[in-house]
């Protein structure tokens, strides 16, 4: 999995970054490919690292960043704690969160410079504190290279890799009450449901929407793609049923599978 930042709008940014600072010692040219049809991009791999650990343990991860543009880029590496407020993720600088993990981050190297068409690696070492309060850290490649934006504005771009920690088996997922938006001539039937991670560990729920007829027999189903939920995070899961249902009474069963088992909720609806 790679985190890719498309920079199609900066194909001509070479002129902006005219100051050559020499190639990073750890960078290496990537094999030449036919890039004429590929949009310029910067990629960070892996995009997500999931670690099962215990408090007090350290681990080192290797991240690879690739520059597939014609521009020379410079990044400063930093770590951010990922906390959840009101069901949404908030990125907090290292040291500003009680029980945070980002404050322990050690990068090697701490600054990365990438010539066009090269890739390089950086290592991040993180230590889980004895009483951790967060379960995710972002290893951020903070862009330092200014690029022309709209008008006279200059912009910079950054990429991050998410590192999550599972420190116990305390997992709990709350399924909200499902709601149904009936099919119309221009839209499919949609079943929506709110998922909330009520445990202390990250979850990756996935599942299936099954449509049953009034006799309880299976009419059809749709897969629900995996979606990562940090502790406290909410997600409005909306699933479209792509087929047209005949008039009648139906029941939508939403079965969600995660690290703690399988949960199913259902709602009855009528297709006129």
């Amino acid at each position: 999995m790679r985190s890719t930042w498309l920079v199609t709008q900066i194909v001509s940014a070479t002129l902006l970054c005219g100051v050559s600072q020499g190639q990073s010692p750890s960078s290496s040219p990537i094999p030449e490919t036919n890039n004429q049809t590929t949009a310029p991009s910067i990629a960070l791999s892996p995009a997500v690292i999931m670690i099962r650990a215990t408090p007090g343990t350290s681990s080192t991860q290797t991240l690879t960043i690739t520059n597939l543009t014609n521009t020379r880029f410079k990044f400063v590496l930093e770590a951010l704690d990922v906390v959840v407020h009101n069901g949404e993720r908030v990125f907090v600088p290292a040291g500003e969160t009680d029980g945070g993990i980002a404050r322990s981050a050690v990068f090697d190297p701490a600054i990365v410079e990438l010539e066009p068409g090269t890739s390089t690696q950086a290592k991040i070492t993180l230590t889980v504190p004895s009483a951790p309060k967060v379960r995710a850290v972002v290893a951020l490649f903070h862009g330092q290279t200014a690029l022309p934006g709209k008008g006279s504005f200059m912009v910079t771009g950054s990429l991050g890799a998410l590192i999550t920690y599972n420190l116990s088996d305390d997992v709990a997922l709350r399924l909200g009450e499902p709601s149904v938006s009936l099919q119309t001539d221009s839209s499919n039937l949609t079943v929506s449901e709110e998922l909330e991670n009520e445990g202390t560990e990250p979850l990756i729920p996935k599942g299936t929407l099954a449509i049953l007829n009034s006799s309880g027999e299976l009419t059809g189903r749709v897969a629900i793609e995996p979606h990562r939920l940090l502790p406290g995070e909410k997600f409005d899961c909306a699933v479209e049923y792509p087929h047209s249902l005949r008039p009648g009474d139906y029941r939508a069963m939403v079965s969600i599978e995660h690290e703690g088992g399988v949960q199913t909720s259902s709602v009855v609806f009528d297709v006129p």
Partner: protein, 309 residues
């Protein structure tokens, strides 16, 4: 010598193997819809081989669907849960009861053995001077080791295969099994085989059955004595769900690729059979005719088997 076993083997579990799944109608939390329920599962797992189907008698279940359809598919038909293994891995099957409460079971799909090419000899060392070969395979998900050994000195032939599945923790079964092994002596119309041999006597007696025991073929007479297993010997040498079979076949070749014969078998009643009145002594007369490929597709020709008893 080697025959291609049917890819689709239907395995019917006995009523004693009925899953102990619990129904769940416990609301997850007070804030949830009354219809929301936490499905629960027994620790009993099911296992099916890739490209095979598993039939499980399942009462009071109106629907079933898989949460991992790329690994296994499931559906309810006529009171039976049908599980189809698509690819190695683990899958969760959700079962829906008439009151729309749910439960779930876990299914492990194991990797199917390789399909070797037809011929008197196959394998890595299939050259003219080769007398045998050894092959080992490792699959990662689920972790599985496979070994195949073939050796043929003169009229003797030894074939040995075993599979080790370390993660297999089904109660009463072993993580090591020997799906197909035999020792054979063959010379001038006489063929003696010990352990496994696929038996194809007649459609109404024993056909497409892998029999583990002793087998003698001498001219027009074939005698078989041994046992078979609905689970395909997915345990050690003596499977728990065995079925004894003893009998003989006399076949006389006619012209034009035809054959007429008689069989007599004692077939122990299948424990999985729902009909307890099934007879155990079977005698059949048969007429077989081998037709060219595509012959039966002619609209005026039918291939018919007749039950004489």
């Amino acid at each position: 010598m080697k025959r291609v076993l049917p890819l689709l083997a239907v395995v019917v579990l006995t009523s004693s193997a009925e899953p102990v799944y619990s129904r769940a109608d416990t609301p997850v939390s007070a804030g949830q819809s009354p219809n929301a329920s936490l499905s629960s599962a027994s620790r009993k797992n099911f296992e099916v081989r890739e490209s095979n189907q598993l039939l499980v008698p399942m009462e009071q279940v109106t629907a079933a669907y898989s949460l991992d359809p790329h690994v296994a598919e499931a559906q309810i038909t006529e009171g039976q849960l049908s599980i189809w293994g698509r690819a190695p891995g683990k899958a969760v099957i959700v079962l829906v009861n008439p009151d729309f409460s749910t439960s779930w079971i876990e299914v492990t799909v194991t990797q199917a053995p390789p399909i070797l090419p037809d011929g008197a000899w196959s394998g890595l060392g299939s050259g003219a001077n080769s007398r045998g070969y050894y092959e080992t395979r490792l699959s990662s998900d689920p972790l599985q080791f496979g070994n195949v050994f073939d050796y043929r000195p003169g009229p003797f032939e030894l074939h040995f295969s075993n599979v080790v599945l370390p993660s297999r923790n089904l109660p009463g079964t072993s993580s090591v099994w020997f799906p197909y092994s035999y020792f054979r002596f063959q010379d001038e119309g006489l063929r003696l085989t010990l352990l496994d041999e696929p038996v194809d006597s007649s459609p109404l007696s024993v056909e497409s059955t892998l029999l583990r025991g002793a087998h003698l073929e001498w001219g027009q007479i074939a005698v078989h004595a041994g046992y078979t297993s609905v689970e395909g010997f997915q345990s050690l040498l003596l499977p728990s769900e065995s079925q004894s079979i003893v009998g003989a076949t006399f076949a006389h070749r006619l012209s034009f690729g035809s054959e007429v014969g008689v069989t007599g078998y004692f077939i122990q009643r299948n424990l999985a059979s729902l009909d307890r009145q099934t007879g155990e002594d079977v005698g059949t007369l048969f007429f077989k005719r081998q037709v060219p490929r595509g012959f039966c597709s002619s609209p005026v020709m039918r291939c018919v088997g007749t039950n004489f008893f």
